[in-house]
């Protein structure tokens, strides 16, 4: 029965909110712990190393000159954007599948989508900064760019849907359906440079014979590690924020039931109440 509990968004009277907020299990649960701390430190360290290698060690490009240094930022950021959306869709699928349905997947989906949108915006910004000196324009209606912008738009729509409130289970299902549909754009966006004649260059790394070598290659790979760690760090914090919100709702559940029964003018607790006990489990 426990899996059926809707764990969030219960309405609690203001005077009881303080009770919930000050209860033991809610207080003193920040989103960080040793794992996230380690992740964060590693992310910062690798990012610093990438910056040093990217700016001072690696040589400038023959054609692009200093601009090539953006290759240590833009591809990694774009990959994290894809990772966020794919993770969101996979978690949504797991939520929709009845056997694996759990609030955990829903939390992971919203956390991954939010971080994905942040990286998607960063992708567009860094791409734009790169495009201005190389193509002469901030923006062009190239398939790759257009599809990335669309990808950003559909996941902003997803986040807008998530904010509409109401029954948390219903919302989780609606959002999961949207996420699974929206993620179809990711492979299309990724293949856009090969399917259409595109201004945007094709993949530098993921081919039989990578276009860059030596320290450039290592720096680029390191940038993926740095942004990957940063991505994991963000998703974990965001996920734990959802856990806290759910716990807030869960503790409100018992109170809400009490309040509801009190409306009938009866003394609370005259009837055996089994479900209040279940909440703690």
């Amino acid at each position: 029965m426990n899996s059926n509990f809707p764990e969030g968004g219960l309405k609690i009277r203001p005077e009881n909110r303080a009770v919930v907020a000050s209860s033991k299990s809610w207080r003193g649960s920040p989103t960080g712990d040793r794992v996230t701390l380690t992740l964060g430190v590693c992310a910062l360290a690798t990012a610093a190393l990438t910056t040093w290698l990217g700016l001072f060690v690696t040589p400038p490009d023959q054609v692009q000159g200093q601009l090539v240094r953006l290759i240590y930022v833009h591809p990694a950021v774009a990959t994290m954007c894809y990772a966020g959306f794919v993770l969101c869709a996979l978690a949504s699928l797991a939520y929709l599948w009845p056997r694996t349905r759990s609030r955990r997947w829903d939390r992971l989906a919203v956390a991954a989508a939010e971080v994905g949108v942040v990286f998607c915006v960063l992708t567009l910004v860094t791409g734009s900064i790169w495009g201005r000196p190389t193509w002469g324009v901030w923006w062009t209606w190239d398939p790759r760019l257009t599809l990335t912008a669309l990808l950003c738009a559909v996941f902003i729509g997803y986040l807008a849907l998530r904010r509409t409130g109401g029954d948390p289970d219903a919302l989780a299902k609606r959002s999961a359906v949207v996420a699974v549909i929206c993620v179809v754009l990711v492979p299309i966006d990724h293949e856009a440079t090969t399917w259409w004649a595109s201004l945007h260059q094709t993949s530098t790394l993921f081919r039989a014979n990578p276009l860059i070598h030596g320290e450039q290659l290592y720096t680029m790979l390191l940038s993926f590690v740095a942004f990957g760690l940063g991505f994991a760090w963000l998703v974990m914090h965001r996920y734990r924020l959802e856990v806290l919100e759910d716990r807030f709702g869960e503790e409100g559940y018992g109170l809400a039931i009490k309040e509801r029964r009190a409306e009938g003018g009866r003394r609370v607790g005259t009837q055996p109440v089994s479900h209040q006990g279940e909440i703690a489990t």
Partner: protein
């Protein structure tokens, strides 16, 4: 499933026939959009005939939003959504039925708009097979995505504003593909554009949206 689809589709079309919202409001709106494009481009016929394909599909897209809103409004009035759930109709059937009803309305609308672009923008229709096939594929895609997202947004207080935000980016590839196909068919595309290849993109999206809707509708109807 198909019995339920026919039942729901016939019901929606009957409501449309009785209320005549599609003929008295949506179709004039679509033509108005075309006329406004004409004003905006200052009766520059060469330019208008060049971009006619894009204008046609933008007009179809905007009107399809109205049709979808209308299709959702039917089910949200006076407890009709509960009634639909109570009736025990197969959710996949409801989805297909509502999609078919929207498709039927969009076909009529495309016919009107097609005549509109020929008369107002002075274009010549070539390659009718390609034009027709792209209309079918794009209409299936628009109707299926619209019905699916209409259900996702239904019951929310912010439905009217949320629906366009959700639907427009999702159907943008359909718009893109259909426009390119039409440009190829009308001979206004850049050289080397293969209309049938773009058509396969539109068809692919149509298949995805129909499959997603058929599978997801039961989840959406049963959610609360």
């Amino acid at each position: 499933m198909w019995r339920d689809a026919a039942l729901v589709g016939a019901k929606d079309l009957r409501i449309e026939y009785r209320s005549r919202v599609a003929t008295t409001q949506v179709a004039p709106y679509a033509v108005l959009v075309l006329v406004l494009f004409g004003f905006a481009f200052d009766q520059n016929h060469t330019l208008l005939s060049k971009v006619a394909a894009g204008l046609f599909w933008v007009a179809v897209l905007l009107s399809s939003l109205l049709t979808v809103q209308r299709s959702c409004a039917i089910e949200s009035a006076d407890g009709a959504r509960d009634a639909l759930r109570l009736s025990g109709l197969d959710p996949a059937g409801i989805f297909l039925g509502k999609t078919l009803a929207i498709m039927a309305q969009l076909f009529v609308l495309e016919l009107v708009l097609g005549i509109g672009v020929v008369v107002l923008f002075g274009i010549e229709l070539r390659d009718p097979a390609l034009l027709f096939c792209s209309c079918v594929a794009a209409t299936v895609g628009l109707a299926a995505a619209g019905t699916l997202y209409g259900m996702i947004a239904s019951g929310l207080k912010v439905r009217e504003t949320l629906l366009p935000l959700l639907v427009l980016p999702v159907v943008a590839p359909v718009l893109l593909g259909a426009t390119q196909t039409w440009m190829a068919a009308l001979g206004t595309a850049s050289a080397g554009t293969d209309g049938w290849k773009w058509l396969s993109l539109v068809g692919g999206f149509a298949v995805i949206y129909v499959a997603a809707g058929t599978l997801a509708f039961s989840i959406l109807v049963e959610e609360s």
